[in-house]
């Protein structure tokens, strides 16, 4: 593929322009079952190439899924044409770095027969049903595997390769008891087939669905709240613009002018870590080919840095932090890698608190500019170290910045989200508004 990419870039150089290319391809298999038999079976192979052309300080973008010479030439000419319409932006350049770098994960594994994969995929449905007659369906169940490859190549000679193989399983349980319904789903992802944990997703989906059959609304009021790592990750991810220098440029980041100031509790520190040893996958370079290293975002509550690419770095007169993001079909932006939330001054757990295991409608109920959100929640009521009841049919609302100021660290060991991309010490948020009965 590198030869094809070089040919495309030669066309750009002939037009006295510079450019970079993003190529990605994947081969995948996915199957799900219904009534004890495979009901859908999908195989796929796709590829896409996207170009960012810069000519006379003007940027144009284009992409194609067809890789014949005519389509590739059309992609280049369209990008050049698009560049003619944009205004000059001398902050955006192809970075002057060269050389090759790769991040390829290839773990040894034994060949697994398709028949075995199929039989085990069916278990993601049938084994849940066996657990309880009240399980009426498992609408979300699937086994999937994917080989993924991407390349970056620039007219400055930077070439990167990212290669990955992953497997994942999903199971769910819908339960019904006298017309009262509940549902829950779980997933697991691994780099090697034998590491997939089928039992964990089946048991977890069933466990929470069974408990949620008993969910009751809580009285409206203020509560102490603890999030599971998955829920907390969703909440923090929803407001990822708080760390984004691109959002700061676009006046969409409320922390834009708070570098060096205390923005959250002094007990918390937050780090972006592209190569954390417990992470599911490393991310050794960004979409401009810049090598990444851990970035301290918040230290003892003080905002230390935002995510930068080369454009935002030039704009704010600083250095790129290696957080450029771009796909074949999207313009240059910024995005983080894996987050670590560490804490100090560990306090004991409060006697009573809510544990949120599921949030619905977070993205539609959030204002990313102000940090306000309102979301439907489900979970468990804890009292004196025990679960005493299950709640649902209530909403929680708040302002993320205020919540992160009014938080207590209640444990020293970081726990991982299910996808192993987010790690946090246990936290308790105080005085969270809940609307219920």
């Amino acid at each position: 593929m590198k030869n094809v990419m070089e040919k495309v870039l030669n066309q750009v150089v002939d037009k006295n322009a510079e450019a970079d290319l993003m190529f990605s391809s994947s081969r995948s298999l996915k199957m799900s079952s219904q009534k004890g038999a495979i009901s859908t079976f999908n195989v796929a192979g796709t590829q896409i190439l996207g170009i960012r052309v810069i000519k006379d300080g003007r940027v144009g973008l284009s992409y194609t899924e067809a890789m014949d010479d005519e389509s590739l030439s059309l992609m280049v000419s369209k990008a050049l044409q698009n560049a003619e319409t944009t205004v000059q932006n001398h902050d955006e350049k192809i970075l002057n770095i060269s050389g090759s770098i790769s991040d390829e994960l290839s773990l040894p594994e034994a060949e697994v027969d398709l028949a075995l994969k199929t039989a085990r995929a069916i278990e993601l449905e049938t084994e849940v049903r066996k657990l309880d007659p009240r399980v009426t369906s498992t609408p979300y169940n699937s086994y999937s595997e994917q080989d993924y490859l991407s390349h970056y190549l620039s007219t400055k000679g930077r070439f990167t390769t990212y290669k990955d193989k992953s497997y994942s399983v999903v199971s769910s349980a819908v339960m019904d008891e006298k017309g009262k319904k509940s549902s829950y789903y779980d997933f697991h992802t691994a780099h090697v087939y034998k590491d997939l944990n089928f039992k964990k997703v089946i048991d977890t989906a069933f466990f929470h669905a069974k408990n949620l059959l008993d969910e009751k609304a809580l009285p409206t009021g203020k509560y102490n709240v603890r999030f599971t790592e998955d829920s907390l990750k969703s909440l923090i991810d929803c407001f990822s613009n708080f760390y984004s220098a691109k959002s700061a440029m676009d006046k969409m980041n409320p922390w834009a002018s708070n570098i060096g100031e205390q923005v959250i509790s002094k007990d918390l520190s937050i780090t972006d870590h592209p190569t954390f040893e417990r992470s599911f996958r490393t991310s050794k370079f960004d979409s401009e080919g810049v090598e990444r290293k851990p970035l301290e975002l918040i230290k003892d509550g003080v905002l230390k840095s935002l995510y930068h690419n080369s454009v935002t770095a030039t704009h704010f007169k600083t250095q790129t932090t290696g957080h450029a993001s771009r796909s074949a079909t999207s313009p240059l932006g910024v995005y983080g890698t894996d987050l670590l939330i560490q804490g100090k001054n560990v306090k004991p757990l409060p006697d009573k608190y809510l544990e949120v295991i599921q949030m619905d409608g977070l993205y539609s109920g959030a204002n990313r500019v102000t940090g306000d959100f309102s979301v439907a929640i489900k979970g468990y009521v804890w009292e004196y170290g025990k679960v005493v009841s299950t709640f649902g049919n209530i909403t929680m609302s708040g302002k993320l910045m205020d919540m992160l100021k009014n938080v207590e660290v209640v444990g020293s060991e970081m726990k991982a989200s299910t996808d192993e991309s987010f790690f946090s010490v246990p936290l308790i948020f105080h005085g969270i508004s809940v609307a219920g009965t």
């Binding site: 999908n42 969409m252 409608g361 979301v375």
Partner: protein, 459 residues
Amino acid sequence: MQLLKSTIANDVIFEGLAQGADFVDVFIERTHNDSMVFKNSRAEDIQSGTIFGVGIRLIYGEQSLYGYTNSIDREELLRITKLLGARIGKPGTPKTLNFEKLQYPVIPTLNDKEVDAKAKLAYLKKIDDRLRQDSKVSQVMLSFTKKKQLIEIYNSDGLFATEERPYIRLFHQLVMKDGDLQSEAFHGPGAIGGWEFVEKLNVEENCENLIKQATTTLYAAPCPGGKMPVVIDNGFGGVIFHEACGHLLETTSVEKKASVFWDKMGEQIAHTSVTALDDGTVPGAWGSLSIDDEGMPTQKTTLVENGILKRFISDRIGEMKTGHKRTGSGRRQSYKFAPASRMRNTYIAAGPHEFSDLITSVPNGIYAKKMGGGSVDPSTGQFNFSVQEAYLIENGKITRPVKGATLIGTGPEIMSRISMVGKNLELMAGMCGSVSGSIPTTVGQPALKVDEILVGGNA
């Protein structure tokens, strides 16, 4: 020009049938996308692209096998077909087909008028200038997207169908700031058609509404929480029916018994004042299609009539699994997805009441003027929606603006609690994400009064 030679389509279908499939279809797509993002008072990103690929589906009984590729090479398509067929591994009876091109009534669309990039830029700049006349506006983000999708469908019944679908959408986002207070407002009209749709938009009215919405939210007090009556205004208010009921009527959910309505056909599932439709034939509407992505002419489907469940939204697989006839609703984002039963233009029909009747009937509650997004769990019917612009109703009158409101409940509950339906039906464009990807759909309704909903707020 055909995207895929009929001889190659024939060979693929022949191979699929030889592999024992009961039914085979081939979906070919070439889509050109153009987009322009206008931000910080300038064109920031201008992008063009081509999506191209082929999806092959083999159906064995109720089992669907699907594969896709970017290639139209005969050998690659046959390789995928054999790979799919090998999963079942039974011999079949192939046949050579004489494809007959499907003739169908074409849904009227706007013309696919095109203008050059400078004209588009000038138009976006005009909106930007108008919005920034308000000194509290801190950011304006406008995006213009144009998509031209050309599809072809061949199947083992001998069908060959093709359709060209031009889509156009203009998205507005406004950020307003006053000291520490910040607010946002959105508007995203869209249609099947070209630039003439944009030319017909009322720039001044749209800008005024955006500024009013952002200003209202900027200074609004927190919304009170608890159960109360809610009047949901027309247009995008229809997202509640879409999420809380529409998804539950798709055979994709019904076939798995993952919908609370799966066994309710012919039963009263909503208040008698509610009649709801899913109509793929609305001229020029964002969710309209002449044929669905399985090559069936689309139709106007009455889902609920006077509160009684009349039809499900069904595709080929849905019909096979549930027995409910296809409704021309097999849809997908692209060739990368197998088709599934999906909504088109879905709305609650107009009723007898004036808007003022709805408001005066509420002693204390919420007026949800503009809804935001939301989601639903079809298996339980539980939904949640944010409200972008909301006001208190006190003693039958709209009084103060409030912010941060979320509505939660279940589809069956809310449908039974719609007690008054207004006259002012309006449709709005949106995007719907589900099993077959993100597709253009229209939501709509007249103003509705719901006797009780749990409102999430923080006051």
